[in-house]
Symmetry: C2
Subunit: 438 residues, 2 copies
């Protein structure tokens, strides 16, 4: 073996982020002559499209999460480091973690996006967003506690506040959350309570723009709206939210008394992008070259939601298929560079967009086709099962879904953590020490 | 309908606690002429015997938890209140919650036991105990993070500290935890890491007394010890722990450098018992009459781990079958009182004791029979599946176990929450900013 071929002399590729893009990139290096290190602050890859199902008690956190180590277990050239990258030094070619440093020859930054409250971070306490598993468990907790609190409450106005759920933002997450919350109240919790009727809970979806699912075709937006309304969701369009607190959501067209608000409106790029010191767009995304490399940052590529790039003159959307395609492409281009070859420009292949509203209710835009209802829903089921990583997860998710759709039950109706602070949240002092009658 | 028969005039039975005893009592009132209110600070009944499997990443939290509302959904005379009982006023016959009051005619207190650090509550941070789902998730997190930290660590001594797990107390929980941790390191994580060999992790079980599983027969203790040692667990007997901190466990026979300690040693009765103002034993358990009623507290019964009672001259053990039998018995005695009949004394029917050590390894004492190995393990599997509440949970747990035992994989290897504080826990300053090499 020549000295050059020993593992320590192979180029070191570092990938930051174990989402769709980062995992796709790591796998693309499988049989390539590199040393690979994947850094993530979580030990798991998260199947984010199903996160709302954890928030609505349909799936368990571990059903949609796979240990990154397990995914890359057979890929002998790959190491995994648990840690949070805080900044990138493009001159010294070093990634800084909170307590250590990792040097790279080539770097793929795939840390994605986080939620944004458009400058109103004070809303985050009253209206949590849905990005991580912890967010999902917290939202599930609040939703389930709201019904419990309503059952305990003696004042009618208070009961209404607990039984009103407001979702801000009608993108895919907001629409899916609204549909799932409607199904829980109408179908799942129906017989569980003695004093309240969960079926009378109000689910309100507020959108600043003129239609739901703005990234899809107008026809699909219309179908989705009809399906939401059929499920009993109240949809308010063209009304921006101006204030959120523990007891109400205020929007342009009115004020809604609610104890449970959920934020599904804005995204912002991961702050790691800015530490590269290169040009970013308004949302903080890195403006990458057409081959996904970063101008003036030797060996650095940015992919997924953190990258701003056009394909065929249109911006590449922040969707998982785009992140996966970019991950593979960046890996291929790094291999080109290692071989001394020219890189290739990235082109996005749009396979279509799907969104689900509820059982047997979904919409799909595929090329010029517009599909809705049962067929779109079956496509959605199939695609999501197919892309879940790991046979075990697929099997468990199918089991949970079969149970849920056949029995109208949700398996993961679990409130963890102390409930008193939530029950107390925003409660006025004079409400205390009242007598509960069964 | 006579006025007496309207639901509002029926006697009000309040049960505090939705564990094995409380649920058994509630169900026993199913067709009885009472109004029933069950109060619990959790929305779920927990199948505690399998809690260690959540802590060791074999099962999901929701696999062993059922919403109490769902369990009692068809029992029309039962209401469920989510809330924490803080004290009982036996003169006014009122249960005080943090923010409300509930009046009772008859009361069953079934709040069980919590863990005790024998006056060393300062150990709880470094050595969490295993009583709630939150505890289990926290222990799982620490165990999984320890392997991650070891993989990142450059100093050999530090690696050893991360790869040493100490369990204090060799009762059923301690033995089950030790066995499961040994299986994880030897079988599950084997190929997942690049720098460390998880198979070299040390699992140490420390017990102050002379044998493991002290509540079982000496023969079963011996068999369990042999099975633990076969799995690679180091068992230290006759040595009491005198100090625990972030970096070490000190016991009578030595000092063990460890980053992960788990407390499985002491239990103390729920503090609610003392608020009754009646006689309690050293562990805080209420000394109940032979019919499970409480002396000088009209209409109050105490059951399960919170009750101190003898049957056939021997103390009734703090096991779930005892709590279930007591719950049913207390309900029956309350029905007697409502009818103006005499109550009956409680007698415990000992069906035997089972403990599991690992795959195909368990011990059982049934009457005078002593069983160990595969047969005992199959009995353990069967009993635990049979008593799990809810068909759905049974189905999922069987699926998870089949996967785990056939594939040597554990499905719930999920670290949630921020990991940096854990990685940082006890880390010395000079360790920072070191360069990690892949």
């Amino acid at each position: 073996m020549s000295p050059d071929a020993s593992p320590q002399n192979l180029p070191h590729v570092v990938i930051i982020g174990g989402g769709f893009g980062g995992i796709a990139a790591a796998r693309a290096f499988r049989n390539q002559p590199v040393r690979l290190t994947l850094i993530d602050r979580r030990n798991h890859h998260l199947f984010q499209p199903l996160l709302y199902q954890v928030a609505t008690a349909a799936l368990n956190p571990s059903d949609i999460a796979s240990p990154i180590r397990r995914i890359l277990r057979r890929q002998k050239n790959a190491s995994v480091i648990l840690g949070e990258a805080v900044s990138i030094d493009r001159d010294r070619k070093i990634v800084h973690l909170a307590d250590a440093e990792v040097a790279y020859d080539y770097l793929i930054v795939a840390t994605g996006a986080t939620h944004s409250y458009f400058g109103h971070d004070e809303w985050s306490e009253a209206a949590p967003a849905l990005k991580t598993l912890e967010d999902a468990v917290e939202i599930r907790r609040r939703v389930l506690v709201a019904y419990e609190a309503a059952e305990r409450e003696v004042d009618d106005g208070e009961v209404r506040g607990w039984l009103t759920f407001v979702i801000v933002g009608a993108g895919p997450t907001g629409v899916e959350m609204a549909g799932a919350l409607a199904e829980i109240s109408r179908r799942v919790l129906e017989r569980d309570f003695r004093k309240i009727d969960p079926g009378r809970a109000r689910i309100i979806l507020i959108e600043a723009g003129p239609r739901v699912l703005p990234a899809m075709s107008p026809h699909s937006s219309e179908r989705a709206l009809a399906q939401l309304q059929h499920l009993g969701v109240e949809v308010i369009l063209n009304s921006a939210v101006s204030h959120i607190d523990d007891r109400a959501v205020v929007h342009a067209l009115g004020r809604i008394e609610t104890r449970t608000a959920i934020w599904a409106a804005g995204v912002a790029a991961s702050p790691l992008g800015k530490t590269l010191g290169v040009e970013t767009d308004r949302a903080g995304r890195v403006l990458v070259n057409q081959d996904l490399s970063v101008p003036q940052a030797d060996g650095v590529f940015v992919i997924g939601d953190l990258a701003s790039i056009k394909s065929d003159g249109k911006p590449v959307p922040g969707l998982s298929p785009a992140a996966i395609q970019e991950g593979r492409h960046a890996a291929r281009n790094i291999v080109h560079l290692i071989r001394g070859e020219a890189t290739e420009p990235f082109r996005y292949w749009d396979k279509g967009t799907l969104a689900t509203i509820g059982r047997a209710a979904a919409v799909a835009d595929i090329g010029r086709m517009r599909i809705s209802g049962l067929i779109a829903w079956l496509m959605w089921l199939f695609v999501h099962i197919f892309f879940l990583i790991g046979f075990r997860n697929r099997f468990l998710v199918i089991s949970e879904w079969a149970w849920m759709y056949l029995r109208n039950d949700r398996g993961a109706r679990l409130i963890t953590g102390d409930v008193e602070p939530l029950l107390e949240r925003g409660k006025r002092l004079e409400d205390r020490n009242r007598m509960l009658s069964p």
